[in-house]
């Protein structure tokens, strides 16, 4: 057996043929070449026997750069390509795709990072940086010599999507996907559809009624035979990969308002501040579970409002200190006062609106939350929402005095600035404060005309200490992600330092997550308004349609592979594997003898390499990243 293994060892064969490698060194428009002497690097690298050509280019990722590689592959009959440029996270795929375009195996490619790891890290030491670049490229060449052509893993894509969250984003994503003929299962934890939009009365800047928007969205989704809706339901487990997930859903335990999961009645009832109810006509008992098979999962789990601490601007201490969502309710005809601006049974005469409560918090000034962090981000919607409320008060109750306490007015969107201007025109008074001296909300004495006063050091009047007597204080609370720690565990979702879900690239790939097949929609990713949520939901739907439309998806082949000749079935690798179903022990028959060997389920393997690290016989390796390849890289770095 060992002999057989030797003869099958592809790298040895390739070495025997003396593979010819092309090396391409990028200037990155100066990002690299201002520090690293790329010409010297090219000359030194050219001395490595396996290197057939070594060239430099201003931008390897540009079209001419890519064309240069493809030309050389033909003319110089190269067996492998090394590009030394920026981080592989940016461009490894670019160059693999270029190889593919030229009908070459895209895995005969190795990337050396000489920007983030060299020119940026050692910009004060050009000579050292140049030397390091040469060593890193030598290592990449050593690996390239031992690369083997690989094939992507093809997985059949199940033409169905699961959308988690029944707010505007989830509803939009579901509907757009279903229109492409794909099946959708919409899962909503609460008994209602509509999410936070149901908390609103009118939406800026169109002043449409939130109820009308929601009704339209919900009715479309409910009438859609491609979409199954489960309210009062939650995801408890999930297995699989892009193309073929199995998501386990169960009735939210203890939720008696929900009739259970099942088909729904096609009658939509809107309940103010709650949402649209859709009733199940096939009740089942709490705790019931069902499994949904799907190719992609769209996470649209939304946000919750920041809950001010007790005592923050006297919140919780005085019933006259409320949040902006409370004010919106108060102003609504469906609210507790029927739309009259009253607090504690008396009409409000002076109201203070305080911006940035639970947003733009500064470390060392603001008290951290239970998790030790402050909300350092801007919540994006509160400025315009607050201005909208100020305008409504001034329109409906012209004698009420409105004071706004702000840091910056961020009325950035189309039509938002109008609210700011109109509010000023209607006599709303603006005070600007800095985070280190926020407004103080205090109770007044028994003889005062108003029960509360807001004191502020107003920077617009050059630091004057001003006081506004009021009978109502409204806190413009920011957004925080809903608590989805269960989903984060189930799907291993990446979370950012702001606690919102993290996209792959904040500029160019805003709706994808690092886990293939999981997509982001709406405020689960960060604060945004309805317009922006719906845009991101439709963008996520587009990505889902791409993944499911072809009928299959291709996964990277960098997965563990077992050499049965070396595996003795000890099972150490199984203990290390953290991906359910990716690795198991099985009996296989070899030359009439039944032996126990490790077996990899390729689509479920994430190629982490934990198994390879513990195998005492080097019997398990990650394709494209084998131990032999690593050895040769280390040798090459040390040899230079």
């Amino acid at each position: 057996m060992p002999e057989e293994v030797q003869t099958n060892d592809q790298p040895e064969n390739r070495e025997a043929k003396e593979p010819q490698i092309g090396v391409y060194i990028c200037h990155c428009g100066g990002n690299i070449s201002d520090v690293v002497d790329v010409q010297t690097v090219a000359e030194e690298v050219k001395k490595i026997p396996a290197v057939k050509v070594a060239r430099t280019n201003m931008f390897m990722c540009s079209d001419p750069g890519q064309e240069m590689i493809l030309e050389d592959l033909e003319k110089e009959s190269l067996d492998g390509v090394v590009v030394a440029s920026c981080s592989p996270k940016l461009h490894e795929l670019t160059f693999r795709n270029a190889l593919k375009r030229g009908n070459h195996n895209p895995y005969l490619y190795e990337h050396a990072n000489i920007r983030e790891q060299v020119s940026w890290a050692h910009h004060g030491d050009p000579a050292g940086a140049t030397n390091k670049a040469i060593r890193l490229i030598a290592a990449a060449v050593a690996k390239a010599v031992r690369l083997e052509p690989l094939k992507p893993i093809r997985v059949e894509a199940f033409p169905h999507a699961v959308v988690i969250g029944g707010g505007v984003s989830g509803l939009t994503a579901a509907r757009k996907l279903s229109k492409q003929g794909l099946g959708v299962t919409l899962i909503e934890k609460s008994p209602y559809l509509g999410g936070q939009t149901a908390q609103l009365n009118q939406v800026y800047p169109t002043e449409e009624k939130a109820e009308d928007l929601l009704r339209m969205l919900v009715e479309e989704v409910v009438d859609d035979s491609n979409i199954k809706i489960y309210t009062g339901a939650e995801v408890v487990a999930a297995t699989g990969t892009i193309g073929d997930f199995v998501v386990r859903v169960r009735n939210v335990p203890g939720d008696t308002s929900a009739k259970g999961i099942g088909l729904i009645e096609k009658k939509v009832v809107f309940r103010p501040f709650q949402g649209c109810t859709v009733r199940s006509d096939r009740p089942c008992s709490p705790g019931d579970e069902l499994e949904v098979r799907c190719g992609v999962v769209i996470i649209a789990t939304g946000f919750k409002h920041y809950e001010p601490r007790s005592g923050e601007y006297s919140y919780g201490e005085s019933p006259r200190v409320i949040t902006l969502p409370d004010l919106i309710k108060l102003l609504s005809p469906d609210g507790p006062t029927g739309g009259r601006l009253e607090i504690q049974g008396h009409p409000v005469r002076d109201v203070a609106l305080i911006h940035c409560v639970g947003s733009r918090q500064v470390d060392g000034i603001h008290e951290p939350q239970p998790d030790g962090r402050v909300n350092s981000y801007c919540s994006r919607v509160c400025c315009t929402a607050t201005l909208q409320a100020a305008n409504e008060i001034k329109d409906r109750f012209p004698h009420v005095n409105v004071y706004e306490f702000y840091r910056d007015i961020r009325a950035y969107g189309r039509g938002h600035e109008d609210y700011y201007e109109k509010a000023s025109g209607k006599g709303v008074l603006f005070f600007r404060y800095t985070p280190d001296s926020p407004p103080l909300v205090e109770k007044t004495g028994p003889n005062a005309s108003r029960p509360l006063k807001v004191r502020v050091r107003d920077t617009l009047t050059f630091g004057e200490d001003l006081e506004a007597p009021v009978d109502l204080v409204v806190l413009s609370v920011g957004m925080m992600p809903n608590d989805i720690s269960d989903l984060v565990d189930v799907f291993k979702l990446p979370v950012g330092t702001d606690r919102f879900l993290q996209e792959v690239h904040p500029k160019l790939r805003p709706v994808e997550m690092a886990v293939n097949g999981l997509l982001l929609a709406g405020t689960s990713q960060g604060p945004r308004d309805i317009t922006e949520s719906c845009a991101s939901a439709a963008a996520a739907a587009s990505k889902a349609a791409i993944a499911l439309g072809k009928g299959y998806v291709e996964l990277e082949p960098f997965v563990a592979q077992v050499d049965p000749a070396r595996c003795d079935g000890c099972g150490l690798c199984l203990n290390e594997c953290s991906y359910e179903g990716a690795l198991r022990l099985t009996d296989i028959e070899i030359e009439g003898k039944v032996e126990r060997k490790a077996l990899v389920n390729a689509p479920l393997c994430m190629g982490c390499g934990s198994c390879a690290a513990v195998c005492p016989h080097r019997a398990i390796n990650v394709s494209g990243w084998t131990l032999d390849q690593f050895d040769s890289m280390v040798d090459a770095i040390a040899a230079q």
């Binding site: 990155c28 428009g29 100066g30 990002n31 201002d34 201003m58 931008f59 990722c61 540009s62 079209d63 890519q66 920026c86 940016l90 461009h91 670019t94 795709n97 505007v168 229109k179 492409q180 939406v203 928007l213 969205l217 733009r360 500064v362 801007c378 994006r380 910056d408 007015i409 961020r410 950035y412 969107g413 189309r414 600035e417 600007r432 920077t459 050059f462 702001d498 919102f500 690239h505 904040p506 500029k507 160019l508 709706v511 960060g526 309805i530 317009t531 922006e532 719906c534 845009a535 991101s536 439709a538 963008a539 996520a540 739907a541 587009s542 990505k543 349609a545 791409i546 439309g549 072809k550």
Partner: protein
């Protein structure tokens, strides 16, 4: 005039990051897409930027792959130097008349070797460098241009013939004529983008003869590692500036210019440039005069806080006037809205105007969609389906529907692609419904005839 006819599923107007994203999304879904770009290269404004906020990724590094991906996609055809003359509804389809302007270089023959550029004796200010660097009368638009083909600027060419003689592939063609291209498409995505308000729009900020007042896009080029000077110096005398001022809302939130809206990106790009300047010129003072700092996107507020910690001066002030003396030093008259409200004259070596966004073109001139009061394309349901225009089948992506940063442009471009796909799917279903009805009718007629 030669007329070429192209049939496709979706016609994308504009080859910037928004248009390319929509095109790629549709092409990946299997639709055939044609992208029309009036410039000689795709890439839009983004490819001219230095770095992007808040990641500080190099803009070329993240734009070129997307440009290349679109250019090489089997389902995408890219038409550069091409303008849309008209798009009209033609039954269930759209008929577009395009005009391919002469490049005076045969795109099929040109190999992008730039020999022509090296021999051309004419120097002209380079538009890509904001007029700061020079280019030749025949030139490849910029280092990362796609296609990497030369273009001849007939207005400045003196017909000396040098380029024609040196061209190794006989690609120079002085006699090229405009070509007409007809496109039949099922849907249209408008991604016509924005332009910055011209620098001289506000006369208080553009004294005659001024050289050291730059637009933010000019500063982007100065900050680019491969920019016109390779470093940041002031255009008038090559001096390394010690003190740089940013004037925010120079052409946004300004009714006197007819631009009452906020341009959304200027605060962030000013902060980004200020940070890059602090890196490039560690001794320089950078001051940002602003009305409100609108750092509202993901990670933006944190970026703003970092900038403050780096020592960038943020001064809440309205700039009343900028003057430039004979030495081209600048005097900025500001009303300090905090501190004590005094009016001050402040000296700076260089001033950057954070100019606002205005529409890239007037789409009403060639396509039957409505514009809003702000001049950008009107959205039919701005809240729940922001990519829809008032015309079914015509979608809008990116800044064509109002100022937006790159990430919002990309989200909206994805949404436009999804809406376009939904619309085309609807067409197919309608068609099959019609066919079924017709076949049913025919069958019944046949049955009647038989009985």
């Amino acid at each position: 005039m030669n007329t070429q006819t192209i049939q496709c599923d979706a016609l994308v107007v504009g080859g910037g990051i928004g248009g390319l994203t929509s095109a790629l999304e549709l092409a990946d879904q299997g639709y055939q897409v044609a992208v029309v770009e009036r410039e000689a290269s795709i890439g839009g404004v983004m490819i001219a930027l230095s770095k992007v906020f808040p990641t500080l990724d190099c803009a070329s590094c993240i734009t070129t792959p997307r440009m290349a991906a679109a250019a090489h996609h089997p389902n995408i055809e890219i038409l550069t130097c091409t303008e849309v003359k008209s798009i009209t509804r033609d039954g269930r389809l759209f008929a577009a008349n395009l005009m391919k302007k002469p490049r005076y270089v045969d795109e099929k023959l040109c190999i992008g070797c730039r020999q022509c550029e090296y021999v051309c004796p004419v120097d002209v200010p380079h538009e890509f460098e904001g007029g700061l660097g020079a280019r030749k009368a025949i030139y490849v638009p910029f280092a990362t241009a796609i296609p990497q083909k030369a273009v001849l600027d007939a207005e400045n060419c003196m017909l000396c013939g040098s380029c024609e003689k040196v061209c190794p592939s006989q690609a120079v063609d002085y006699f090229q004529r405009p070509e007409e291209i007809k496109v039949q498409a099922k849907s249209v995505v408008l991604a016509t983008g924005f332009q910055l308000l011209p620098k001289d729009s506000k006369k208080e900020y553009s004294p005659p003869g001024s050289l050291n007042i730059l637009s933010a896009l000019q500063m982007e080029r100065l900050l680019s590692p491969h920019g016109p000077y390779g470093r940041v110096i002031r255009p008038s005398d090559g001096k390394v500036p010690d003190s740089i001022a940013y004037v925010q809302c120079a052409g946004s939130r300004d009714k006197s210019l007819g631009i009452p809206y906020c341009s959304r990106v200027c605060c962030m790009y000013a902060i980004k440039q200020a940070m890059l300047l602090s890196g490039a010129l560690p001794l320089a003072d950078v001051t940002i005069y602003y009305m409100d700092i609108r750092a509202f996107g993901k990670g933006y507020e944190e970026f703003y806080e970092n900038a403050k910690a780096m020592g960038i001066q943020f001064v809440k002030a309205k700039v009343a006037r900028i003057a430039e003396d004979e030495e081209h030093n600048l005097n900025v008259r500001v009303e300090l809205m905090e501190e004590d409200g005094r009016v001050e004259e402040r000296a700076h070596d260089l001033v950057v105007l954070s100019l606002g966004m205005v529409p890239g073109c007037n789409p009403e001139e060639f396509v039957p969609v409505m514009r809003d009061d702000d001049g950008f394309v009107k959205c039919a349901s701005p809240k729940t389906a922001p990519a829809l225009t008032d015309q079914p089948g015509i979608l809008v992506a990116g800044t064509a529907a109002g100022p937006k940063d790159i990430v919002d442009t990309i989200a909206k471009a994805g949404a436009a692609a999804m809406e376009a796909a939904n619309y085309m799917r609807g067409l197919e279903l309608d068609l099959s419904a019609v066919t079924e009805a017709v076949t049913g009718e025919e069958e019944r007629a046949a049955e009647r005839a038989a009985s």
